[in-house]
């Protein structure tokens, strides 16, 4: 099958040439606009962070102060909050989402696939501020009256689950992030499992493999690269989520590792709550510095995702 060359060997009429140039111009312009916007964003954030960076340097990342009165700022507790909430949410969300993806692609009766699939998409479409409001009104009190006392009773010897139950804290924030991650990872997993060539699955079944063995040894390894990319996508969404987290996490600059019942903060939620009405320039600049750290983490996450996906691609034998 021959591929049509980009430039046709037919004589170019004036109309065709205009179309060629126009297409290239429009697409090129779109890319240029994108690059310019990204560059402007990075410049603005870096420029804003400069005062804080020149005052604190990299010590900002290891300092736990956040004090407007003494003008001392540090990101450590916020970093801990971001990482704990996102990783905790990942641990719950990833198996659940992959299970949903498998269910939708392999195990569900055909009549259930569309409605359940639609419901997963709907969950993804809920605006984060609505989830935050639901978190304050429903999830927070539920966690404080049912979940946290139960955890305290049965797992209270672990410091992470000790402490006084509270409406606002790390645990409701983790649960909200889990709810946000699941639809993203689940719909991508479903597409990935649907894309496994059926000859592979049917061949394995014909050789006597059980459905579980087909999943474990054929389907999942085949799509593991894509699954990792999906997980990274969910992770990126979680670390950047500001509004919904700000409403349920309690906005308190303290280490989340003390107890997940206690209020804490993530970098994104801290920026959201503190940015409006900063008292000193150094505080404002420190919030920009937090934004820089968030950007760096996002960049590292995306690059890591790309590398892992490429490595898995090579391992399976070059099949995209």
């Amino acid at each position: 099958m021959s591929v049509q060359p980009a430039t046709s060997s037919l004589p170019l009429t004036r109309r065709t040439r205009f179309g060629e140039i126009g297409l290239r111009g429009i697409c090129g312009a779109a890319v240029v606009i994108l690059v310019v916007v990204i560059a402007m964003l990075i410049w603005e954030v870096a420029h804003g962070a400069w005062l804080s960076f020149s005052t604190f340097g990299l010590g900002f990342i290891t300092s736990t102060d956040w004090n407007v009165v003494t003008n001392q700022f540090g990101a450590l507790y916020l970093l801990e909050g971001t990482l704990l909430t996102s990783v905790f949410a990942l641990i719950i969300a990833v198996p659940t989402a992959i299970a949903i993806g498998l269910f939708l692609s392999e195990l569900a009766p055909r009549v259930l696939r569309t409605p359940v699939g639609l419901m997963v998409e709907l969950l993804a479409a809920i605006p984060s501020v609505i989830l935050g409001l639901w978190g304050i009104v429903v999830l927070g009190p539920f966690v404080a009256t049912e979940v946290e006392p139960w955890l305290n009773q049965h797992l209270g010897f672990i410091p992470l689950f000790s402490g006084y139950p509270s409406n606002a804290g790390v645990l409701p924030a983790c649960l909200i992030l889990t709810i946000m991650m699941i639809p993203i990872i689940a719909s991508i997993s479903r597409e990935l499992f649907n894309s496994v060539p059926s000859e592979l699955k049917q061949g394995a079944l014909a050789l006597g493999a059980t459905r579980w063995e087909v999943m474990r040894q054929i389907a999942i390894p085949q799509v593991s690269g894509g699954l990792i990319a999906a997980v990274m996508l969910g992770f990126a969404r979680a670390i950047g989520e500001a509004i919904a987290v700000a409403q349920v996490i309690g906005s308190h600059n303290a280490s989340p590792f003390g107890s997940i019942f206690k209020p804490a903060a993530t970098m994104a939620s801290w920026i959201a709550t503190q940015f409006n009405g900063t008292a000193t320039d150094l505080q404002r600049s420190s919030l920009y510095y937090l934004a820089v750290i968030l950007l760096v983490i996002s960049l590292v996450t995306n690059i890591a995702a790309q590398l892992i996906v490429n490595r898995f691609r090579k391992r399976i034998g070059g099949r995209a």
Binding site: R15, G19, N67, I136, A168, P263, T273, A279, T280
Partner: protein
């Protein structure tokens, strides 16, 4: 196929030209005028933003001022004192409102803004404790210890000693504070710093202090909602919420040993003995013992206006009306006693600075 491409190219080109024209148009108007979102030249609208403390009073003013001969429509966004300062610094609003004096950085950023005290009010300490009665008595030191995390339960001996004969449950105390830039936080921490040297050294006074324990929530409505949802919660907010939401509030001991309720007369007693700070703002918290009936958490709230504004005459007229008996009488029923006469007369000088 070719026709589709041509159609696409033409429509995209038209779209690009339209977008460019719109961008050029809006950028020139925003760089040129300093009134931002309001229609330039028209002075029948004033846009303001800021303190939630004064928001109930401003909404009374909004309703009344449009009916006066001046017929100016006031639009006010209660985004918090910090947000109001940011907005007026960016000149995206005509006036800002804050309960806290501008910090030195904010003064520099605002570029010649004048702070005029335009209302008087009180911050109350509200709590939600199942099984405890209304009007529990607290001293400033005990309040500071609660918010420092030294006193953890409602039946702590320190609280019981102040409330003999009262049945206090052993509920855990959850301090709830403002997580956004808040003038009410400034007033509250100013009071605690005055009465407790421990608080002054550990936390200090600020619109966004680092509270050592507790949960943060945004805006007064947020802290009140959080307190109502938490058994054992205690927070601070302006007086108007008590009547509006039927809240339990604490009686705070003043320097004379009395426990005055936050009535208009108690606030006026505090205003009579206010001390002026170096930046011209007036401190009313923790009044001296000579004012025996003074409420210890009273405060002025300020309107922040750029000294040079395209709506100078409208602003001068509005602020003069607001601090006059016509404007101040609207505040009396909702917990904002009228400004003392000496403040009204010294304000005239500040208002004259707006050109």
């Amino acid at each position: 196929m070719r026709k589709t491409w041509r159609l696409l190219a033409v429509s995209l080109a038209v779209g690009a030209v339209a977008a460019g024209a719109a961008a050029c148009g809006s950028s020139s108007s925003s760089s040129g005028s300093s009134s931002g979102s309001t229609t330039s030249g028209s002075s029948s609208v004033l846009v303001g933003a800021g303190s939630t403390f004064v928001a109930p009073l401003v909404s009374q003013w909004e309703a009344a001022y449009v009916k006066t001969p001046a017929a100016v429509t006031i639009t006010y966004g209660a985004v918090g004192s910090g947000g109001g300062v940011d907005a007026v610094t960016a000149r995206s609003v005509d006036f800002g409102a804050s309960d806290a004096p501008l910090t030195s950085d904010q003064v520099t950023a605002c570029k010649s803004c004048v702070q005029i005290p335009w209302a008087l009010g009180a911050t109350t300490v509200d709590y939600n404790v199942k099984g405890a009665p209304n009007n529990l008595k607290l001293t400033g030191k005990v309040l500071a210890d609660i918010f420092l995390g030294n006193i953890k339960q409602w039946n702590d001996p320190a609280i019981a000693a102040l409330n003999p004969g009262v049945n206090l449950p052993s509920t855990h105390i959850t301090p709830i504070y403002r997580s956004d830039g808040s003038g009410t936080s400034f007033v509250f921490t100013d009071y605690l710093s005055s009465v407790d040297p421990d608080w002054a050294s550990k936390v200090g006074t600020s619109t966004q202090p680092t509270f050592p324990v507790g949960t943060g929530a945004e805006h007064s409505s947020g802290v009140i909602a959080a307190m109502q949802a938490t058994d054992g919660g205690i927070t601070y907010a302006e007086t108007s919420y008590i009547a509006a939401d039927n809240l339990d509030y604490a009686l705070i001991q003043n320097a004379a040993g009395q426990y005055p309720k936050p009535t208009n007369s108690a606030v006026l007693a505090a205003a009579a003995v206010g001390t002026t700070r170096s930046d011209g703002t007036i401190k009313l918290v923790d009044p001296p013992a000579s004012a025996s009936a003074a409420y210890p958490l009273a405060s002025y709230t300020y309107v922040i206006v750029p000294e040079s504004s395209p709506k100078a005459s409208t602003l001068r007229a509005f602020i003069t009306w607001a601090i006059s008996s016509a404007g101040q009488s609207l505040g009396e029923p909702i917990g904002y006693p009228p400004l003392p006469a000496n403040v009204v007369s010294s304000n005239a000088m500040l208002i004259a600075k707006i050109k």
